[in-house]
Symmetry: C2
Subunit: 246 residues, 2 copies
Amino acid sequence: MAELNLDHIASRLEGLEETIIHRLIDRAQWCVNEVAYAHGQSGFANEDLRSLFELRLWHHEEMDAKFGRFCIPEERPFSGGLPAPRRAVNIPETGLHIKDFDEVNFTGAVLASYRLLLHKICRPGDDGQYGSSVEHDVYAVQAIARRLHYGALYVAESKYQGDVGGYRKLIEKKDREALLEKLTRKEVEDKIIARVKEKVRQVQAKINKEVRVEVKSESIIVYYKDFLIPMTKQGQVIYLLNREPD
Amino acid sequence: MAELNLDHIASRLEGLEETIIHRLIDRAQWCVNEVAYAHGQSGFANEDLRSLFELRLWHHEEMDAKFGRFCIPEERPFSGGLPAPRRAVNIPETGLHIKDFDEVNFTGAVLASYRLLLHKICRPGDDGQYGSSVEHDVYAVQAIARRLHYGALYVAESKYQGDVGGYRKLIEKKDREALLEKLTRKEVEDKIIARVKEKVRQVQAKINKEVRVEVKSESIIVYYKDFLIPMTKQGQVIYLLNREPD
């Protein structure tokens, strides 16, 4: 089926990577603004625990849940206890074979890595623009999580289809290291890194630096190398270990 | 004050225009999807009237209102009856002199013009991706409205400061046509159009056309020429007619 064709998947991943780049550049227009991530400092009445960022993420996901976002395999929620969809969402056959998509949910890792990334792409300090910062944080972490989970679920299934016997043997042995090695494609990873680097440069080639903050391609590349690519592969391993036998 | 310095305002407008371009390109990745704008076809239970787009806009603005978005002069809401902010928002002195920012609220015109624009930038037809379409519609109309209201409020006040006597005379006569003529800067408009054209081209220069839908710069330029620029000037006239005497 088309959803599991490797060319189709590579195209989707490339499209998702444009969104990540745009969202990170958008967020970088504001300072780090640590206060927005501090517990009990949201400024919300009767809200002693959550940070402004946590509140924004919760409210956004609560809305998204009603609209059915999390029916889509690659849209894994950051929050628990979300409401059921209020509309029927038409999900085409995914071709995935896993009981619960949330068995592959790496949103906790996305949040932790994103907080570190902010210090690489944003100017340090505080410009008071907390509302705009957390609004764009939500767009950015959703774009990152979408790419990670899409790559984990669909790439794993596609590779599995390419060598059912080989993967089945390693899955039965629960051999995580051998699975990781088998699904690694170093040349594809290098191609992604090179493309991301060129795109970050290209998208900002003609910006007016007095108006827009520029994001160095290095910070986004390191994020891909150290987090997004390895974590996607971890997600593929988890998918395979949870994949239902044919 | 810095907020009313024309160079500062021009920079802000340029930044806001990048956001509009990105948001429109994002939305164009999906088909027109007329069903998402049809009343009574949202698929939401117990929701006979509003379209999926109207519901998404309402829910998004309800969240935004709680976070204090509409305390900002250029963030004018599309919806009425929104809740009060749940946090104290720190608004620096704006330098604007108008009793109620909503005296300049052109969101109705933004919605009407945007629906027409969709047919210019999106492929015709239906791809079933209604949730994604309306999510990106909200980001796009907010970006357009922000630019329009920012340009209306701050540019008008700045021009007023440049010739208080001249403007005051026309305001007292309520002479809309003379006000419109006085605040028009044809050479600035031409510069904006040329810059938008170049940016739409540049941002998409290296896209993979098998992955991303390309938006023709012509559609966005026509939108600027026929709607955004003239409507911003109408907003400036309204601001001036409602401006409090010094």
